[in-house]
């Protein structure tokens, strides 16, 4: 491999993770930081750090010209975008390519297909992967007709434009008229297109996703599934591999769906195909593809033994996959907890500040992916993730036990963390028996059962 230097266009724990992977490959790293991030662990670990711009992400981590210029001026062959920020931006991938830099991720065309909800669904359908009942509607009459097919409750949302913006839950047919009209006019004014998307709302669904990896030569692999049903407002809190909710037949089905999508796209790089799983009805529906390294990738690494970031870098430089599907064997169980600087007693409000104490518990079978150190000033500008605590065991019970010990023995002071919530969750029967669904934690908060 000719690459001797990679530009890391991200921050936090994932920057450290990418730098580690590069160091093991003998590749130098240049980390682009914001003016607020000069004293981060990543900046100390990278071969070199350059200040891209101000603390605001738009001036630094989202500043495409500055990143590309810095990468070229420092002699980097490739750019690793991590997750979030520019990792799924087709325009950025293209800008890198045009300037002779390898974008460590999917191709711009793949990012375009997957970045739009309608085209991603259409693609999934075209390769025979079931999508949740629903579709785009241009008029209220169309919506009424489709709603009968989809059934209630259902979600209405702008077809174009991302995020949860303007999303409305419709419980009864009587409410469709108003919800649809509001969503349509909002969509028209915000995104210039009044098309409204109708989709069945699954109240008791599990979130299950499959890790995929593809090279530039048409080779594709799936590396098993992860379950991330324990969420708070679409923010995952606990993830695990494998999922204990699937039976063998459904697991095989899920893996084959993911491979159909990967093969159909000739997918390049690391990706995650997300599904909703209705345990009662045993329905599997395609949700979306995240074309990048995922926050929770370490649980897959723990049970497969594959260094996913290393493989991601190698395939980006054109190396063929070194693993065959039959080489992917799962062993044991892994659980990841997201430790964040959020106060559970105050609606999980972010709590940045100076970290005066940081002593991760030295427990066998536990991996800490973190950019924390004593004295670090946790900035208020970015996400609240402090560490990912990844516990491995021969079975789920052991993994959960170790995860619990790791949180119990963590010594942390300064920012208020969600550690108390994590402890409560690990002691909750629904979590222990994994009966939680994606809405469960929010319902617990609403009922006052947690925190």
């Amino acid at each position: 491999m000719s690459a001797r230097r990679i530009f890391v266009a991200n921050r936090g724990e994932i920057a450290v993770r990418v730098i580690d992977a590069c160091q093991r490959l003998g590749i130098e790293t240049v980390l682009g930081v914001s003016a607020a991030d000069k004293q981060t662990l990543g900046a100390m670990r990278a071969t070199r750090a350059v200040t891209l711009g101000g603390a605001r992400s738009t001036e630094s981590y989202l500043n495409q010209p500055a990143i590309v210029h810095a990468a070229m001026s420092t002699g980097c062959a490739a750019v690793h975008p991590g997750y979030g920020f520019l990792s799924e931006r087709a325009d950025f991938a293209r800008l890198c390519e045009e300037n002779g830099l390898i974008f460590i991720g999917a191709t711009p065309e793949q990012l375009e297909t997957l970045g739009d909800k309608l085209s991603a669904r259409a693609f999934a359908q075209s390769v025979g992967v079931p999508v949740s009942p629903g579709g785009p509607t241009k008029t209220l009459d169309e919506a009424k007709a489709l709603a009968i097919e989809v059934g209630y409750p259902l979600l209405v949302k702008a077809a174009f434009g991302g995020g949860g913006r303007g999303m409305k839950l419709v419980e009864r047919a009587d409410d469709l008229n108003e919800a649809w009209s509001v969503a349509s006019s909002e969509a028209a004014s915000s995104f210039g297109d009044g098309t409204v998307f109708l989709e069945r709302f699954v109240r008791a669904a599990k979130h299950i996703e499959v890790q995929i990896l593809g090279d530039r030569h048409g080779g594709c692999l799936q590396l098993g599934e992860r379950e991330c049903s324990l969420q708070f407002r679409y923010q995952k809190i606990l993830e695990e591999a494998p999922s204990s909710s699937l039976n063998a037949a459904d697991r095989e089905k899920l893996h084959s769906y993911a491979l159909r999508i990967a093969n159909g796209l000739k997918y390049q790089g690391l990706g995650t195909v997300e599904f909703l799983y209705d345990v009662a009805k045993r329905d599997i529906w395609f949700l979306e593809v995240n074309p990048r390294v995922q926050v929770e990738h370490p649980v897959t690494e723990a049970v497969t033994g594959v260094d996913l970031v290393r493989e991601q870098i190698l395939v980006a430089f054109g190396e063929p996959l070194r693993l065959a599907q039959s080489d992917i064997r799962l062993e044991g169980h892994a659980v990841e907890l997201r430790l964040t600087a959020q106060n559970p007693a105050n609606g999980l409000k972010p709590s940045p500040g100076r970290l005066t104490k940081w002593r991760p518990s030295p427990i066998g079978g536990v991996r800490w992916d973190s950019h924390m150190y004593e004295g670090y000033l946790f900035p208020p500008y970015y996400d609240a993730l402090m560490a990912k605590i990844i516990a491995f065991g021969q079975n789920r019970e052991t993994a959960l036990l170790r995860a619990g010990q790791a949180v119990d023995r963590l010594e942390v002071a300064g920012p208020i963390t969600n550690a108390t919530l994590l402890k409560q969750l690990l002691a909750t029967q629904a979590v222990i028996e994994n009966s939680v669904t994606t809405q469960w934690l929010e319902e617990q908060f609403a009922r006052g059962a947690l925190p």
Binding site: V50, T51, G53, P65, A66, H69, S73
Partner: protein, 173 residues
């Protein structure tokens, strides 16, 4: 914090007084600023370090000024403008890179630089260009004064916030 934490007006006055006085060494300490002015050969015990770098080792004796502050030391100011019109005013000012990019001291290759050491600049004088992805961004001095240090070379990658020039403010023209 300003780059040079010393009152240059005071310094200039001290040097002017010492010019006429009979002395070989003068030490002055105030807060975290310490000033050493010597005439003639450097004493052996303080060889090496920053003093040696700026000292003229041979007579005719000229005052050697070593200003130690937390900020970079100034190059010997050699204002082309006559002394009367460029009375130093307060601490020096640093021009920082407003964005990351490539530093260019000249408008075009082969042309003379926007400013040279010792040049008089106004607040709106363009002092350099920072190029990012072929977009040229002019950087202005921001203060009227004399360029007393240049910290970047042509073509360098400069980072956001990096020091580019030190300007000794003087009364605007």
């Amino acid at each position: 914090m300003s780059a040079l934490n010393i009152d240059l007006e005071e310094l200039a006055a001290v040097v002017r007084l010492l010019k006429e006085a009979d002395f070989s060494e003068f030490r002055y300490t105030k807060g975290d600023v310490s000033l050493v002015v010597r005439r003639g050969e450097l004493p052996a015990e303080s060889s090496g370090g920053e003093a040696a770098a700026t000292a003229a080792p041979t007579p005719p004796p000229a005052p050697t000024i070593v200003a130690r502050t937390t900020a970079p030391k100034p190059s010997a100011p050699a204002p082309r403008a006559s002394e009367s019109e460029s009375i130093p005013r307060g601490p020096s000012s640093t021009v920082h890179a407003p964005l990351l990019g490539s530093f260019y001291a000249t408008p075009k290759p082969g042309e003379p630089p926007f400013v040279r050491l010792g040049d008089r600049v106004e607040a709106d004088t363009v002092v350099c260009i920072i190029e990012v992805m072929k977009l040229m961004n002019s950087v202005v001095a921001g203060v009227a004064g004399i360029v007393i240090a240049v910290h970047a070379s042509d073509g360098d990658l400069v980072e956001h916030g990096q020091a580019l020039f030190t300007i000794q403010p003087v009364e605007p023209l």
